[in-house]
């Protein structure tokens, strides 16, 4: 069973459309696999929608009878309502033709279907270090970096912390760290106060979002710090 879920505040921002695309996609992917969060999101959306639309017009100037116009046409913030309606209603209903083409990626000869939320994202070429493969997802979100991270069986990431936050969402397979085992669908959000050392016995594919390079914390691994930016 999925044990790690996005916090309520994060769901709220998600429903409001106030998270970057990277994190929004992460929550959408998690919710697709997690009926509990799916239900919470549906409920929140309903509530937020009602709150947004139930307020009566606080600004009486938004809709006014246009005094200069003898036809008494109504306007909205300077726009003519009748014109807008006439313009919009010329369009034909949209056909349901949008096909979602399932994108897939291949690491170490194994193919993985990607979730719908990633269908139209640009996935870069994989770079490899040992048992790790990483493909950047091009979202242009400045310091926030989004990737697919594949760990081949027996691989892992040396003990590290993060300068900012790090989201790891398990798309396939399992991995474990000091806190236990994680399974497909787990939504693991860590901040700079966490240290961890994930290992994947049987291999896994993760969707990761981070806003700072990894910082390796132990012994000889400190030598790896220059490549910390590579992984996430």
């Amino acid at each position: 069973m999925i044990k790690h879920h996005p916090k309520f505040e994060l769901l709220e921002l998600f429903v409001n459309g106030e998270l970057p695309a990277s994190l929004s996609a992460g929550i959408a992917i998690h919710a697709e696999m997690c009926p509990k969060c799916q239900e919470k999101i549906a409920l929140l959306t309903e509530q937020i929608a009602a709150v947004n639309f139930e307020k009566e017009l606080s600004d009486p100037f938004l809709i006014t009878d246009d005094i200069d116009d003898f036809s008494g046409e109504e306007s909205l913030g300077g726009l003519n309502i009748d014109d807008m309606v006439a313009n919009i209603t010329q369009a034909q209903p949209s056909q349901n033709t949008k096909l979602t083409i399932n994108k897939s990626v291949t690491y170490q000869g194994k193919s993985y279907a990607l979730p719908r939320a990633l269908a139209n994202m640009e996935v870069g070429k994989a770079a490899n270090i040992g048992k790790l493969s990483r493909s950047r997802i091009q979202l242009n979100e400045n310091e926030v970096r989004t990737s697919l991270l594949h760990i081949a069986p027996g691989g892992g990431v040396p003990e590290h912390t993060h300068k900012g936050f790090e989201l790891t969402l398990l798309l396939e397979g399992t991995f474990s760290d000091e806190d236990g085992e994680y399974i497909k669908g787990d939504f693991i959000m860590l901040d700079s106060s966490h240290q961890h050392h994930p290992i994947s016995k049987n291999g896994c594919l993760c969707y990761t979002v981070a806003n700072g390079a990894l910082h390796f914390t132990q012994g000889i691994n400190k030598l790896l710090n220059p490549i910390g930016a590579f992984i996430y």
Partner: protein, 203 residues
């Protein structure tokens, strides 16, 4: 399955109760747009939603033209996609909110990340709710069972349950509509739910 049992009665009074949303009326307008391409119904929807969308958009976009674009885009999606709205699955306000949120998200992304990738419909699909086909099929069967149990309730309780759950009326709206004190509505609802629970058994 048509479940808007009380919607005909409520449509007679089209006045907005202050601060309350007349959900059945909004649903009817949307259905009229979907089925008959009814421009009058669309005008009503426009007048209800446009000022509210404009106010929300102004808080997110400092630029007046961009805020207007959100209104234009959202309402033209409402016109073009009305047939995708399913009143069994949720309120009209939820559906329009989703469209507005998606339009806003894509526009902000265009401005902030210079990307015109329109990811919002992949993240928040409009066409279907997030539950799978199988779920809605089960729900449908369960609805049927529920309806037959519902019909065994006394008429007075049935009215309240149907109005509240199927027509999305608030308890206050029901009180006005049925000309009963709010307390009566609440207690009927409670009684009815207790009986339904017993009938359906704990699954």
């Amino acid at each position: 399955m048509q479940t808007n049992l009380l919607s005909k009665a409520t449509s007679d009074k089209s006045n907005y109760m202050s601060n309350k949303i007349n959900h059945p009326e909004l649903c009817q307008w949307l259905d009229a747009v979907a089925i008959k391409r009814d421009k009058q119904a669309f005008t009503q929807l426009f007048k209800f939603f446009a000022p509210k969308i404009l106010r929300i958009a102004r808080s997110k976009f400092p630029n007046e033209a961009q805020a207007n674009e959100v209104v234009q885009e959202t309402l033209s999606n409402v016109w073009r996609k009305a047939h995708l709205f399913n009143s069994d699955k949720g309120a009209a306000t939820t559906w329009v909110y989703t469209i507005m949120r998606n339009v806003t998200f894509d526009m902000l992304r265009k401005i902030q990340s210079n990307k015109e990738d329109n990811l919002s419909d992949d993240i928040w699909p409009i066409a279907e709710t997030m539950s799978s086909e199988d779920d809605s099929f089960n729900d449908h069967l369960e609805n049927k069972q529920l309806l037959s149990v519902l019909e065994q309730l006394p008429e007075a309780q049935q009215q309240v349950v149907k109005g509240f759950y199927f027509s999305d009326m608030s308890q206050e709206q029901l009180a006005t509509h049925l000309a009963l004190p709010l307390g009566t509505i609440k207690s009927r609802l409670r009684l009815a739910l207790g009986k339904l629970k017993a009938q359906l058994g704990d699954k």
